[in-house]
Symmetry: none
Subunit: 222 residues, 4 copies
């Protein structure tokens, strides 16, 4: 079983420190000095173990993408084995949420980190990271997406592509800014829901979005 940070080996200590700092300050804003200081290792150790800051980010990414894909696949298989009926959108999103929360268990700020990672991957100049993630990520999610689309309103491929990114935007924005949004709620005197609560709030909203009837292309033009 893994020990806490001070007992782990250098490479692991770096990863753990990097995860926490990337999650709370973002990738560009986090410096190698901050990471190595928090990990209590030598500044050069990052380059030694991961080649570069970019290499470290990819290593961090792998530690999330792998278990996430595995868990989602597994949950999906279990559901399909237990019930022959095609899963509804809400069910699929519930599976996704439970998968995310399971990843989250490892580390309080894990989801924020993961969402920041997605955000980064879509930025210009990050083609390398994008393709790296896409290569190890997209194929394993294909079956999930296929099932999802089956229970959506009928739509073309590109319509689905965009709706998927609308959903992704909600997820990325809400979770990577979770701290700030929570603070705004606190200032407004509202309860501050935990991440689980927020994810569940998202399910009916996203479901309705996927199931909404698409405008006809012609009607879209003003």
């Amino acid at each position: 079983m893994k020990q806490p940070m001070q007992d782990a080996d250098t490479a692991t200590r770096i990863i753990l420190a990097a995860e926490a700092l990337f999650a709370s300050h973002g990738f560009a804003q986090t410096t190698l000095r901050q990471i190595t200081a928090k990990a209590d290792v030598n500044l050069a150790a990052v380059n030694y173990h991961y080649g570069s800051k970019h290499g470290l980010i990819e290593a961090v990414a792998c530690r999330f993408v792998d278990p996430l894909c595995r868990t989602l696949d597994q949950m999906l298989a279990e559901r399909l084995a237990a019930d022959a009926a095609a899963p509804r959108v809400e069910e699929l999103l519930e599976l996704l949420v439970r998968t995310l929360l399971q990843v989250q268990d490892r580390n309080a700020s894990a989801l924020a980190l993961f969402m920041r990672l997605l955000d980064l991957a879509y930025m210009p100049g990050q083609e390398e990271l994008r393709q790296f993630l896409s290569a190890s990520y997209a194929p394993r999610l294909a079956s999930f997406l296929q099932l999802l689309r089956k229970d959506c309103a009928p739509m073309q491929d590109n319509e689905f592509f965009w709706r998927l990114h609308f959903l992704l935007g909600s997820l990325v924005f809400t979770l990577s800014n979770y701290e700030t949004l929570n603070q705004l709620e606190r200032e407004a005197g509202h309860e501050q829901p935990d991440i689980e609560r927020i994810l569940h709030r998202m399910i009916p909203v996203i479901s309705a979005g996927f199931q909404a009837r698409a405008e006809s292309t012609l009607m879209c033009r003003v």
Copy 2:
């Protein structure tokens, strides 16, 4: 009539260059050197005209927030004058979309910039920018939000708060990453829709999200 960048005065040249660079590279990643080089202006001119990089960002923000609020208010007033019936969610979103597109007319990457600005404002350590925007922004949007909520599914204040940020996330993520998403579509062999098309695609999805019946609090717990 205003000439293109090379003929405008220094302050304007700086703003125009900054808008373009901020939109495509983000705020932190854009350096004053890049801006002043693109504007063909002395490095110290930014500090002379805007005090600091932060001041420049706020100036850029104002150039979008001001006309955006004005246009939205005006469109809303026209709609209410023309038709006594309370506007539906779709109508309100349509007004918002038309407002955004009008701001967009000024500058090809204007919306991406504006969305990056919102993204930045929610980041930790940007309380100052957040409050600056909130102070000049929030009050003028209050009536829009009030009308929006009237046609939503019934829900509590905090539920509305979160749904609003789900929507905001879709907008911010999709539009600030418009270039990347378009490229992905190109690689997939799909048509590459313009921003107008994407925004109209969003309307039914977002509308459905706002009108979806909220899960009861008890049911949210797994």
Copy 3:
């Protein structure tokens, strides 16, 4: 009669602002921006009226050296006219103190400024300022110094030169750091004397220093 700063002409407004800032922050630490901001004049006005920052410093200097020399000469003449006896060191220092306090009347921080000016003049690379002051300053003080030396212990020219600078050091250090020293006294729970009090405290100390019998040169060697 002179009006307060806001009504004076540009050149005077600059001088007044400069005096205050130079006195409290020192010459090198005070920027032309601070001066012109405080004087509420254009940044370029300093260069326009005084040629350069250095020119401004010399102008400030003149406004102190001139009345100081005049007052000291006059007081000395009055004393010599009233009493044929050669003045004692204490009397001469008392005249000097009264002269300084009179200059001080014009402006609360005038003495600190004047002392900072002397400090600056002795710094390396300030030969120009030193000679400027020396040319308009030294000759008019010659008679004062002659009288002073007559009541000192007998000593050679160079011994007198150094003792004079020991005195000058006490004056310059104490008065230019008056704010700081006062604060230290406050922290120690002592009364915070005004400048007049401090100068009078200095008289017997300095007098004793001038009248102390010089060590023979031979004895100085360890």
Copy 4:
């Protein structure tokens, strides 16, 4: 044995270059570029080894304050062991002078540097440096000051405080401007005494100042 600057390690080369430049140009006027150029070292090395310019100044300070305190304590102890009689003011000042000269041995401009450091510490906005020095400096000088006061004329605490600073002013002004004063002597055709000679000239003057009878408070008021 230590080699001259070119053979020492980077951190030492920086310190040595900084000492020389700080001594001759002052702290604010000396730039990191000048220091690193003189030390023949990368510009970033200062920050690497000392964190900041301020950190470098404190490091320079420590290299003087530490041996100075140690030497003075030791000399005082030796004197007290050798002779049971309470030391006179002149003796104490002689000890101080010998201590200063010993520090001086290390580096030609060491005393000028040290005096500039004291000067800086009394400036407004240097509370941090002042307290840093005061914390490591003042306690170790307490016994010296106590003995000094015992042989002074009787006076109150605050009178002693000010006289001490009159003395300090003489020291700081004379030694930090040693180069300039020497040049003035040269121009006047006098011999140019070395620092040892000047310090010994100061002893009887300062002694007389400490032993002068204080004016009564009432008499001080004009």
